[in-house]
């Protein structure tokens, strides 16, 4: 359905749009994308975003490695992913065009900043001719806009130098897109004035450029259509936009508040986890201490030392850091102290793909230590879910006195989505009780640091400074109950089994099966950040009239109690993962289920479309 507005532009209603802003890393594409996201959020759309940064900090200007992009999916219904492919591509230079045009479907809208298409820039990225002048882009709706020239023109009166004026061209692009999609503009103007409060002339220039982009759309004939995406019907409440790393950090702050413990983050900078450190370092007023150590090992060492002293010890890292921390995780297993290890996974092995995503640390989290060294594993499924996952990891660590691995990944660390902000009063109570009295059961009046709670099998947390409970712990095997060093073979066997039983006994909620019709014969099982694409794929399959059930695991160790039963109810179980089948291996071993593994390790999230095809094939391949 279309309506006409005064300018003669046709307005089309859409239920969802995916826009990708792409430019040189110096072009401010992340900021542009962020602002459009805020406009969409303020308008009430559901949304999901995915930034894509160059691996180099300052790659040479105008080159393919220097391309930075930001993809945003917004809709009038609840969406699950940042979108497979853009409907609209904004390319600020030839490199951005070349790197992204392959993802634009036929008929897609392409908006190009023509000013950068000089012979020199074209040659730099290997274009023999100018694609804007030949017919190589014939399959798309191309809008050629001299964004730099128009921006400089609009800012002429400001007296700003040409170079400074030209830098505001990203706001021109934002203004144009805001016009095309009927976005509210006040928020962006306010944002720009706040951001550049100390440089009012730059603030004004950006606002002017933004308005110039808007007016350009309004006045030129070349844009015949604008689009409306109505607000989504989301659950009632107050929302904000949040990235995974911020949500993780907030989860840790909240856990400190809800447990009443000071938080000590011992860590070392590593992509893509550093933002957790950056964020937490801002919240010292919540009794949060952040310690940037000399290396990964010292980071976790300090966290464990703080836990020993009765604080909530946390360390944050990515896969290579987990490798370095393994020995200390083992010490935490042996000393049975609470500790949260955040692993924001990235492409591996070794240094691998630091800025790209992967979920290939599952087996490292599960088994990557010497000896029998069980550790609970929790994985968030989306950016905003990182908050609840962090609280859950802390709950397990404190209740069971154990290190807990929290497996996020690059896709949700930097991606963002709306978050229904919880009421603080509704957050779980994580308060702990420290040991204060001798507890020996033999009447000796001694303190036994390894006498376990019958229900949780946790040992008492007796912090230094508690009179009468002086005791020694360490990495050597402990005698059951007394905690004295013991080399007794039978005791060792017993303690190994007790530590295992403690982790296996961790209370985790049953999995919920998403099977709207209740008639599915195929079950897709995922974990972590693939929730979005799997969920979106399942919806599409159902739209085609086929049935598929979806289970998404928050707890990888221990598995939910009902998982075996759920798996056994389906004729086919398929497990898509961004690794070579690590969860599938665990499920096969644990439940003797003939799980089908679908794997991809391209450093990118799954596309809903590819999973739709995979699931459709499995469903259609079922015997009648």
């Amino acid at each position: 359905m279309s309506t006409d507005v005064g300018s003669g532009t046709e307005v089309r209603k859409l239920d969802r749009v995916v826009i990708r802003f792409a430019g040189d890393s110096g072009d401010g594409m992340q900021l542009t994308g962020d602002r459009f996201t805020s406009e969409a959020a303020a308008f009430g759309n559901d949304l999901a975003t995915q930034p894509n940064f160059p691996a180099e900090i300052r790659a040479p200007q105008g080159t393919l490695p220097g391309v930075s992009s930001f993809q945003l999916h917004f809709a009038d219904y609840d969406i699950l992913t940042p979108g497979d492919r853009p409907d609209v591509l904004v390319a600020m230079n030839p490199a951005a065009l070349k790197a992204n045009i392959g993802d634009l479907p036929q008929g897609g809208i392409l908006i190009v900043n023509t000013d950068e298409f000089s012979k020199r820039n074209l040659t730099k990225v290997g274009y023999a001719g100018n694609p804007l002048e030949d017919d190589s882009l014939a399959a798309f709706q191309v809008h050629r806009v001299a964004m730099a020239t128009l921006t400089i023109g609009a800012l002429e009166a400001t007296g700003l130098g040409k170079k400074d004026a030209e830098r505001a061209k990203n706001m021109f692009a934002l203004g144009l897109l805001s016009w095309m999609y009927h976005r509210p503009v006040e928020g962006t103007e306010r944002f720009l004035r706040e951001k550049f409060a100390r440089k009012p002339e730059i603030a004004e220039a950006n606002v002017l450029a933004f308005r110039a982009g808007w007016n350009y759309g309004e006045t030129t004939e070349s844009f015949a259509v604008t689009y409306e995406v109505a607000p989504a019907k989301l659950a009632v409440g107050t929302y904000r936009q949040i990235t995974g790393n911020t949500a993780l950090a907030y989860g840790i702050v909240a856990a400190g508040q809800r447990s009443g413990l000071p938080v000590v983050l011992g860590t070392y900078p590593i992509t893509p986890a550093s933002d957790v450190l950056h964020e937490l370092s801002k919240h010292k007023n919540f009794d949060v201490t952040t310690l940037q150590a000399e290396d990964e090992i010292a980071g976790i060492g300090a966290a464990l030392g703080a836990s020993y002293g009765g604080a909530l010890g946390v360390t944050s890292t990515s896969g290579p850091g987990v490798a370095l921390k393994s020995e200390t995780i083992g010490l935490a297993v042996m000393t049975e102290l609470p500790l949260v290890v955040i692993d924001v996974q990235r492409g591996g092995p070794s240094t691998g793909l630091p800025t790209k995503t992967e979920q290939a640390d599952l087996l490292q989290a599960m088994f990557g230590r010497n000896g029998e060294s069980p550790v609970p594993i929790v994985a968030p499924q989306s950016p905003s879910d990182c908050f609840a996952a962090a609280l859950d990891a802390v709950r397990i660590a404190l209740t069971y006195r154990t290190p807990v691995l929290l497996l996020s990944d690059g896709a949700i660390a930097n991606g963002s989505e709306p978050w229904l902000i919880p009421d603080v009063e509704d957050l779980p109570d994580l308060s702990v009780t420290f040991a204060t009295e001798p507890n020996a059961t033999d009447g000796s009046g001694e303190f036994w640091p390894y006498l376990r709670d019958q229900e949780t099998l946790a040992r008492p947390w007796a912090v230094p400074g508690t009179p009468g409970l002086q005791h020694r712990i360490g990495g050597l095997e402990k005698a059951e109950d007394t905690g004295n060093i013991s080399y007794d073979p039978v005791n060792h066997d017993r303690m190994v089994r007790l530590r295992q039983a403690k982790v296996e006994g961790v209370e985790v909620p049953d999995v919920e099966v998403d099977d709207p019709s209740g008639r599915a014969r195929v079950l897709v099982v995922g974990w972590g950040s693939s929730y979005g694409p799997i969920g979106a794929a399942a919806r599409r399959v159902r739209k085609d009239g086929l049935q598929v059930a979806h289970v998404h695991l928050r707890h990888l160790n221990p598995f939910p109690r009902n998982l075996g039963d759920v798996l056994s109810r389906y004729e086919r179980v398929i497990v898509p993962e961004m690794n070579l089948g690590q969860l599938a291996l665990l499920l096969r071993a644990r439940y003797l289920v003939d799980a089908i593994s679908h794997t991809k390790v391209q450093g990118l999230p799954f596309k809903a479309e590819e999973l739709q095809n995979v699931l459709t094939d499995v469903v259609k391949g079922l015997p009648a």
Partner: protein, 352 residues
């Protein structure tokens, strides 16, 4: 005011640690665990010295923590009736750092050896010293790996023939005092296991120092490196070799003070006292970093001279005090309002 001057009052090393008026004895500090070092091991002497010395601090025993790494000496915490953690190889300073940051009411001691502190844990040691965390680090130096049965260590002399180096080791050794000073340590001392008085004196000064205190203790391993420090233990040899430091006093030594330390070029040398004028004898000043380093170089691997006592004692803000001060400042400046943190600046509301 410089960036690191947080205007903190000058505190003693034990400020904030609760004390007791109840009399304490050495035996109060002995745990019920049987001590399992080899007979004749220097570790026994150090353990006894520490257990005898601690009561004089008058601290509540439960507020003392010993953290160790791996190695013979790292068994130490098991024998102390205090809190203790026998951690993993080389990492004790890191673990103790987290503990010290979280708990200003604890007196935290690290027990480590030459392999633990200088080889596998070298990185943590230097960074802990640089940060000046309020920890007392006792480095038991026996110049050998004991627990793994006799391989050369980072303080073994070059050419040392051991099980792992039948043709002689190739490594040049560390001078632990020079290393610590180079790592910006605010307190560095050295003592010999057999010298109870000298050891106790250095331990006391270390305990009273606010910040990282590194105490190197020459410790004999009778099993794998017996007699490594014997020349310092035979009375007539010791007199010629050991240079004890007393802050503010001219540095002379020998049975009747017949040797003196004087300047030479950028460093120091030993001269017969009779041949130099009294004004040329160097007066020890533990606040002078240049002197401290020069003194550390006077101690040679072959022990022809060994300087003992406190090389350096300098006042500098500690990492843990500063970290806590930042948290306290933040708390005073801004209320911990979780709901407002979670909401942030931009929210929108969906109504039914």
């Amino acid at each position: 005011m410089t960036a690191i001057d947080l205007g903190l009052p000058e505190l003693g090393g034990l400020a904030g640690v609760p004390t007791t008026d109840d009399p304490q004895k050495a035996k109060d500090y002995k745990s019920d665990q049987e001590v399992r070092w080899c007979p004749g091991c220097g570790d026994y002497v150090v353990l006894n010295a520490v257990q005898s010395f601690l009561p004089s601090l008058g601290l509540k025993r439960e507020n003392i923590v010993f953290v160790s790494g791996i190695g013979c000496s790292s068994r130490f915490p098991y024998y102390m009736n205090t809190y203790g953690m026998h951690s993993i190889h080389g990492r004790a300073p890191a673990i103790a750092t987290g503990l010290a940051v979280a708990r200003p009411d604890l007196s935290v001691w690290v027990v480590t050896g030459d392999g633990d502190a200088l080889s596998i844990g070298g990185n943590h040691l230097i960074h802990t010293l640089r940060r000046n965390v309020n920890l007392k680090i006792l480095l038991f130096n026996n110049r050998i790996y004991g627990l793994t049965k006799g391989q050369y260590s980072p303080t073994s002399e070059a050419g040392k023939v051991t099980k792992s180096t039948p043709a002689g080791s190739l490594d040049h050794p560390f001078n632990p005092v020079s290393l610590a000073l180079g790592a910006e340590a605010s307190f560095v001392g050295r003592a010999i296991d057999s010298d109870r008085k000298g050891l106790t004196d250095v331990l006391r000064q270390a305990a009273e120092h606010r910040g990282s205190a590194l105490v190197e203790i020459y410790q004999n391993c009778p099993i794998f490196n017996d007699g490594a420090f014997d020349v310092l233990k035979e009375a007539d040899e010791a007199e010629k070799r050991i240079i004890p430091l007393v802050d503010g006093k001219p540095i002379t030594f020998g049975a009747s003070g017949e040797f003196a330390v004087v300047r030479e070029g950028f460093g120091l040398r030993v001269a017969p006292t009779s041949e130099v004028s009294a004004s040329d004898v160097v007066v020890h000043d533990a606040s002078d970093e240049h002197l401290a380093f020069a003194l550390s170089r006077l101690s040679t691997q072959d022990l022809s001279h060994t300087v003992t006592g406190v090389f350096r004692k300098a006042s500098r803000p500690t990492y843990d005090d500063s970290a806590r001060a930042q948290v306290e400042e933040a708390k005073a400046a801004k209320q911990a309002d979780l709901a407002s943190l979670l909401h942030g600046r931009d929210t929108w509301t969906v109504v039914g």
